[in-house]
Symmetry: C2
Subunit: 417 residues, 2 copies
Amino acid sequence: MARTVKPSGPSFYDPTMTRYSLVPRKEIKRRISKLQEALRSNGIEASFWIQKIDIFYLTGTLQRSYLFVPAKGEPIHLIKKDFKRGVRESGIELKVPIRSRKEIPPLIRKHYGKLPKTLGLETDVLPVQEWRMMENLFEGCRLVDASSLLLNLRSVKSPYELGIMARAGRVGQQVYEHGRRILKEGMTEIAFAGEMMAKAFALGHEGLLRMRSLNDESYCWHILSGKSGGIVSYINAPMGGLGLSPAFPVGASMKPIQRHEPIMVDFGICLQGYQIDETRMFCIGSLPKRYLDLYHSIVRVQHAILDATRPGIRGKDLFEVGLEVAEREGISDIYLGPPDNKVSFVGHGIGLEINDPPFIAKRDETPLKEGMTFALEPKLVLEGEAAIGIEDTVVVTRDGIRRLTPLRQTIFHASLK
Amino acid sequence: MARTVKPSGPSFYDPTMTRYSLVPRKEIKRRISKLQEALRSNGIEASFWIQKIDIFYLTGTLQRSYLFVPAKGEPIHLIKKDFKRGVRESGIELKVPIRSRKEIPPLIRKHYGKLPKTLGLETDVLPVQEWRMMENLFEGCRLVDASSLLLNLRSVKSPYELGIMARAGRVGQQVYEHGRRILKEGMTEIAFAGEMMAKAFALGHEGLLRMRSLNDESYCWHILSGKSGGIVSYINAPMGGLGLSPAFPVGASMKPIQRHEPIMVDFGICLQGYQIDETRMFCIGSLPKRYLDLYHSIVRVQHAILDATRPGIRGKDLFEVGLEVAEREGISDIYLGPPDNKVSFVGHGIGLEINDPPFIAKRDETPLKEGMTFALEPKLVLEGEAAIGIEDTVVVTRDGIRRLTPLRQTIFHASLK
């Protein structure tokens, strides 16, 4: 029955109505086949996926559903809501309607023939209540972690994925150029963020940046002018900004932006679920020479790290390159945070979630591979005074990197009048 | 030592720089004391809080930290990052720096005298990996759920909290009136959302709406014009809209808005962490009579439910009132979703998270209390055609309700030229 479902209802993919493109079937096939290889080489009989971003990566839809992927055999996509929409969007062949969790074991028995002996689950994100339900449903199975396998697969992007990220980069370029044109003295940071958001939305930005975490959440309006840049907060970043209240103590605030202040604009873009991240310094009128010198120093740090990037090098090696150049430039004390509050990474993987592997970090031992994408963001914090930095998203190529953010590397000067 | 910490560094609460108001100490004292009562009456010796919204509610800061609250005795606020900022913002008296989880048991032993026999944790949100760490750290303690206790406390708002929500309501009013003025034929839904977002940001909206869930995420740009309103998606709502891609398949899309279409604008606002939610119908030019009739019907459903609301009544009773009026109005088949895809709630609690209790839902047995807040959103879905609805946020008073969203109850007509 499942295979013969013909979705009825409105044709909401009507191209005359809107753009809305599905993930190609062959992309899904490739991902599933890579996951199955990974399951086999790790001796895991099958995996079961619940978290929405993992589901989206493996099926092409974010509709509420579960996905069973055995190491050998056909994946089963159990779709709850909206079923018709899930059927249209999912690249998995076997699509089965499900109403409640209790139907999971009988449906797996029916289509896979039995329950697996070992089952991989997302231990990094599944809440303990959900885990206990899975323990009950799969009584007798050994439950193990599968998230790390999938995160590794996700870290290497296909040409299709890189194409979307490059488009997101071009959207970012338009948003930043727009920001430079409309920025005016006296605007609050958050009002300026709103103007950039409006432009980004009009170009198809999806608004939310996703983060795999209980307590972190991502936002794209990290706009810190002058003193705001000198404020640290709870996020794992060199600076957090003031934010709007203790309930949202990061990013743009109600502080009015003044002339000659260094303004850090870190505004990520998301298209079709894929994110790029980038930072440029803005200034209304001219930037005082001291800040300009620091900006040139931090650009040299970024270039040195990118020059050293190639397949095989580890995140920790690149982190080390950054430290060395910072030392040579005489900016070690303010590099990656104030002296007593530094972060231990200078770049993070990026794709469907903004804390994807790899990490360009003090302790990351994983060798980079061709096709991995990351955002490299060396930053300086002058505590109580300002922040200076730069950020681009790149992909590791056969012999180096390619930028996915085509934004010009310069100070974005807004007019004084 | 902990008590004598004098935060140094920049005075980022400088009132000449920005607005940024702290949660009053007596508010925190009251919350802690209510939690301690609840722990005692449930026989739980102590509770340990990790999730950021719970931490914010109980301490007044979102800085990275843990909170230990015994049923009797002094709470201990273990602050990780940023320590100085956490010390300034937290309303807990005993503030202790912590670097790693390993220090949790010795610090509790030091300040509480021992480890508790029973410890309440957030089982609904804590990932299983985190839970296992807690099992190791608190070996020998019985770990139980404490989330439900706190969610119940959170559902009843103080005058301070209601004041913030009412301010959020007034911000929403300005954002909707602005939307009516700038809406033009041919704008895409998402571009219109961006213009409302820019206005909301300028007025201090915090941009993200928070939701307590692994797989749900909240966004405020739920703007569905014409056919978009007739599309169901994965979210627990009568309609989802098309969205921008299968990776963000809800809310505003790239569809251009046309004249005479019913346009559903459901745009929540967040101030100081507190949210209000509201929906109005917009139209460019005149709305065809058929839709206008449906709008009047759904307004009558909302009024009937609000008229019946008072302390003591249960969510399921109010849900039943809605069903009865929908029946009388002859709209049962399209009420709360298409015939085969209806939701079983018509309202949701709201405050720091958008899926807070109480629920005005088919199965909610909890009697309402004075001070509870909820968003009431009866909606109609004409599958493949449009959505019609209304939504307001209210607080339960001694003898009825008070609206926290002062927006006029009318169709918001934008000009045709």
